[in-house]
Amino acid sequence: MSGLPKDCHPVITVRGLRNAFGEQLIHDGVDLTVCRGEILGVVGGSGTGKSVLLRSIIGLQTPESGQIEVLGENMVGRTEDEAKNIRRRWGILFQNGALFSTLTVAENVEVPIREYFPYIQPHLLDEIASYKIAMGGLPADAGPKYPSELSGGMVKRAGLARALALDPELLFLDEPTAGLDPIAAAAFDQLVKSLQERLDLTVFLITHDLDTLHAVCDRIAVLADKKVIAVGTIPELLALDHPWIQEYFNGPRGRAAAESYEEGAHA
């Protein structure tokens, strides 16, 4: 099942991706297309290679074979210089924020801007960092704080602010709500959704959070058996007869999330 939406302009195309660590085969023939302007959620059990898929797409992991195209450019076997052009056009939020610990939050946000646009006036740069921090949903006093002074939720927001620094077309989020309390997680979902609408982003989102899947994702890709076994909306996936998918969405947590989502939709 790989029926793409009709007016799909592919932003990420993965074809026949194969990844292995030594003897252990992680991916064997992964195919995936992400369309412009959608929020694609990637789910899968622990150890099915969700993060490895992300790392392959963003070029941190060289696949054994397969083709990866991001924003129309081939990602496999390219030089550092070529990769720079594409890195300017995406933003990545790592699972644990990956903030630079020796820099303040505001300086963290400024890092990508300084790297690509060194001639921006310092006061303008500070103002840009300020509104990106506000956009990431952080209070104003978070700017001069160091990452070790932040709570888990604030680290994620600061990471998001840094990911948004260059006005990316494409945003990668690796388990953005993991480790957050339900209120903070719901707020983060809302933040991602509203940013996606405002800035016209394409979002590639890895998550375990069923509420996030219901609340923000347009389509969901399911990783299992070393490949993407299905892509579609939740009703489309539920129509399939795959045991893992059934268990995932119809298990006790899956049903609770679905119910709360429907209540929210009716209210």
Binding site: S101, T104, E127, I128, I133, A134, G143, P144, P147, R198
Partner: protein, 367 residues
């Protein structure tokens, strides 16, 4: 790429800034500079714009905010983007405030002094808790972690043999070479053997080994414990009921205390061999004669002086390393700085103690 099609400047009517193409982060610096150069009142004409991102919108927004500029020709999308960035206009600082004046400098000096005091008291406290740990182990010897200690023996001792041996061999050669050059001026080359024999057994064998062990193992102790502190392994240990002092610190201290004299002896031996090789090849003194002379000129007390100091140095190195490691909290950068401090602190303490020992042994007549 955008280009500015027109910049009309008229002192009476102000100026019009007209952008065509894209107003994005790529052109942010130039755009800002051009707008800054225009006289008030500014009018920004967006009618020919194709694409604007949030940075472009921000530049327009701040010109409106700070200089009361007028925006004309904005489409609905652009107006909404301008409104959006306006919502996020919450000024925030980039770095924390830092006072820069004389008082701050004095304050820093005071903090530095008090830090030294706190560290020394802390080290003393840590020494006390290791002693308590030792006492607990003696009362309940079953809890003694033999495997951990043996593993440390391997890491601290066996694996250091190569580098310490090589270092000592070379030091032996250097002492012999430098000594013979100087002594030759008095026609006393034969005393080179006295020089090598006494300086390596009494001082250099132990001291150089201590410095090497501090760099090799003291730093490793600090880094290991520091990392375990950050990953909360040590907290986990405490909550399970395992004392980190007994499980982590004491095996390391025992390993350092037992391995230091052995390594020091090894270092003395290799330094003597290095010196022997040099006097054989350069001064023509055959090895047998060299060994005979060594027996005559080195009093046995020199060996004791070297070997008695070694376990004390080992103890200090392990204590300082573990202490600094346990002080780590917060971020990974601190592991690095604590490791550095551990090495500096232990080498400093070793040299201070070495001086104390030198005076002590001279006074008891072991000259």
């Amino acid at each position: 790429m955008a280009e500015v099609t027109d910049q009309e400047t008229d002192q009476r009517h102000g100026s019009v800034y007209r952008v065509a193409g894209a107003l994005t982060i790529t052109r942010a610096a130039t755009t800002q500079r051009e707008i800054d150069a225009l006289p008030d009142p500014v009018t920004i004409d967006l009618s020919e714009i194709e694409r604007m991102d949030t940075v472009g919108a921000w530049i327009v927004y701040r010109t409106v905010r700070d200089r009361g500029a007028k925006v004309i020709g904005a489409s609905r999308d652009e107006v909404s983007l301008l409104k959006q960035v306006g919502e996020f206009d919450v000024p925030t600082r980039v770095i924390p405030d830092e006072p820069h004046n004389l008082m701050a400098a004095v304050g820093e000096l005071g903090e530095w002094v008090s830090d030294i005091g706190v560290t020394l008291v802390g080290l003393l406290g840590f020494f006390g808790s290791t002693l308590i740990g030792f006492a607990n182990l003696i009362r309940r010897p079953k809890k003694f972690r033999v495997n951990a200690v043996v593993q440390r023996f391997d890491v601290v001792g066996v694996r250091a043999l190569g580098i310490i041996g090589l270092m000592s061999f070379l030091i032996g050669i250097v002492i012999a070479q430098q000594g013979s050059v100087q002594l030759a001026q008095f026609g006393a080359e034969v005393y080179t053997i006295n020089l090598i024999g006494r300086i390596t057994t009494r001082e250099l064998g132990t001291l150089m080994t201590a410095i090497m062990v501090a760099g090799r193992s003291g730093s490793a102790f600090a880094a290991q414990l520091g990392t375990m502190k950050i990953t909360e392994e040590i907290d986990a240990m405490r909550t399970i009921g395992v004392s980190p002092i007994e499980a982590l610190v004491i095996p390391r201290i025992i390993a350092a205390v037992i391995m230091m004299p052995l390594l020091a002896f090894w270092a003395m031996l290799l330094a003597l061999i290095g010196g022997g090789v040099f006097v054989w090849l350069s001064l023509g003194i055959p090895p047998l004669t060299y060994i005979q002379r060594l027996q005559e000129v080195i009093p046995i007390t020199d060996l004791w002086v070297g070997l008695i100091k070694a376990p004390v140095f080992g103890f200090i190195i392990a204590l300082a390393g573990c202490f600094q490691g346990m002080l780590v909290k917060g971020n990974s950068e601190e592991v690095g700085s604590r490791t550095t401090t551990a090495v500096v602190q232990s080498i400093f303490l070793v040299i201070v103690l070495d001086a104390v020992f030198a005076v002590f042994f001279s006074n008891i007549g072991w000259i």
